[in-house]
Amino acid sequence: MTAAHIQPGPLAGLRVLELCDEKGQFCGKLLGDLGAAVIKIEPLGGEATRRVGPFLDDIPHPERSLSFWYYNTSKRGVTLNLETADGRRLFRRLAATTDVVLETFQPGYLASRELAYEPLCTQNPGLIMCSLTSFGQTGPWRDYLGSDLLHMAAGGEMASCGYDEADAPGAPPIAPGGGNAWHIGGHFAYMAILAALMHRAVTGQGQYIDASIHEACALTTEAAVANHIYRGETLLRQTGRHHAPARTPRTQFRSRDGTYVTALVAGRLNGKYVKDLATLLDRYGMPHDLHDPKFEDPAEIAASASYIIDELVANFIASLPAEEVYHAAQALGFTWGAVRAPEQLLDDAHLRDRGFWKQVEHPELGRSFTYPGEAAIYNGSPWRISRRAPLIGEHNMEIFCDELGLSRAEFSLLVENSAI
């Protein structure tokens, strides 16, 4: 694909400075992949997130972190030492011509370096600055330390996730993996930044955004808060299915290939469902008695729910590979799905049809790799990964000299004095 005739992304022209660790790098990627010109500002030697594995070929190196690669696509990178006066001066110059600053320092750090929103916006009244931190800029926990696991605990995710006692006796609440505290926080920060941009488009005024990952996680447990507020109920954790005030029938069944299928059956059983289920079982020659006229009676269906779910559905799924169950059931309109390991998605024909997977070149390695693509297709202004994650200080000269106008002599002096 050639770049020349491709339409720009929806955020084309938007300039963003990102000073982020694990808390905000995903938000920077969201902006960059949609077309914003994101400059990632790292401390000398690179951001700490470069030390998070896994690494290319399992060789640890700050330029080989796959986690860093993933979360920093579509950004250019500079190094800047905010502990030096020259570094701070350069940052102010960058901030004078940017639209958005996204930062994740501990509350108070930027203010202590005279780089808070107030001084920065006097030179650039349209500036939008988003501080995305663990707990926000105020309150008794503002200086607390966080982590993905900590946010999953305090945000309520863990209280809702875990096992039926029979499946894992004594198991703790479980925090889903994948770093989702940062995803949840990043999504809301993106929303806040776009809202501020909408306001600025009309008024010309920028503003400061104090975003909290703890609050974002605390919002992200569906009806758990409503269950408390309206009914005072405590929710039980259940294997592979929704939390509930009282135990509900299982929805996760083992398949022949040793994986699982999620099949939403309970609560949906009616005459039509039973008929369709009979069709599905017939198709695979599975013995059953669902054609018995007694299953036209809703009361009989209700009384047989446990038989239908724990015997017929469970045995059917146990007789086939998960993928086969998934597609055969969906073809008949059942809301069922295979419980896949992420790598199985590479074989998913639907994602392929949507052009989901992207090839990203790593020119310094002479290789290109397959990356996950877009959450949504923007038909009028496409999402794209414009470049792989930056190397440490890769764009220092381009940005400081070519764009900011430093002379080579000034640039060299700053390097010698550990400002960049």
């Binding site: 796959l66 309150g139 982590s147 889903p176 929303m191 605390a218 507020i229 992420p342 998605l345 949507r354």
Partner: protein, 441 residues
Amino acid sequence: MSRRRALEGVRVVDFSWVRAGPWATRWLGALGAEVIKIEWPENERGRLPSTTTPQGLEVNFNTSGNFNDTNVNKKSLCLNVRSARGLEIAKRLIAISDLVVENFSSRVLQKWGLGYAELCKVKPDIVYVSMSGYGHTGRNHSYTTFGPIAQAVSGLTYLSGLPDKPPAGWGWSYMDDMGGIYGAMCALTGLYHRNLTGQGQHIDQAQMVSAVPLNGPGLLDYTVNGRGSRRAGYPPGNRAHWPGTPLINNYRGPTVAPHNAYRTHPGGYNDWCVLVCQSDAEWRRLVEVMGAPPWATTSQFAALSGRLQHQEQLDKHIEAWSIRLDKYELTERCQAAGVRALPVQSAADRVERDPQLRHRQMYLPIDHPALGSRRVQNAPFKLSRTPAFNHLPSPLIGQHTREIVEGLLGYGHHELRAGFADGTFWPTSRPRLPYLDEMLR
């Protein structure tokens, strides 16, 4: 407050139902957009069935607590879009709106005669966000999904659990939450782009697809290193690494120990805290907080490698200490010393006990005609000039039909009456609720 809102002047036609779509438009409303929810009692899903109606109240269209929280900041227009008259009114509304949001299956709006091409005829620069399960393109576009299916099929369910156990999964529709947020993000991005270029567009968001980018590093481990996640010790429960298995990063940050959940006093269902030490220095601080017991100062735990190797023992020792403390007391002691610790919090804990959420005014009450004064969830960000806030309770079904039909669209009162008589604004077979009768006077 005379303050300008971020989305002042933006009008949203909201056909969405159940959870993901309404969760998206709720935030647009909190940011100041006028959100008009179009619904029809004969095929309503979101208000009913309700499992969050307070004890002692009748379960009906207007008493679902979860609906209230999910649909604040909106107005409700009851409209039979499947009738010619209803369709005409919907188009008249779209013609003066900025955004159309829906989360039906992939072909529903098209079947109604409201596909993107039709929308453009009515409003050339309309931003249309469809939030379907699998998207509008791709061979499985007609598959049906709820959060749990999107999570299973996308690989998210598999990330959660203990080794050698079935997946624990997510105990709620995470992808209704995140899918909803993505819908709001798409809407804002589409509007921003339209303001700059004058071009609207159709944004095709898909719940199942939206979940896949949340697995990035794990997917790269496969596409780059060829390592799949069906392996010993994965997923590692709450740990960063499961002892006795190959020392590999498990995609939740640095590989460290301790990194787990521990029981706290008095040992109830949600009496747990989590503790993480990301460095030897943080470990030494935890040792101090625990009172430097002899077991903790032995050399086997001094370095990260030893703590990872002897994690079973380490966790047992830590739990023997943590079980004596209340989870909030433990949190305060640890955090005061610079140790990463927080309580596992139920919804009750968050709403009633969490001092941070209270300070940040996360749950403020709003009056609802049927449910009374109830706390609803606020935005997790504070915009200094245009704060997001909940300004309307969720609408009663059809509550704003007259306001919209007569006030906004300029139909006469006799046309409203005619629309009620012919089943455009309320099914003729269904008794009218008192506030609907009131409208017809």
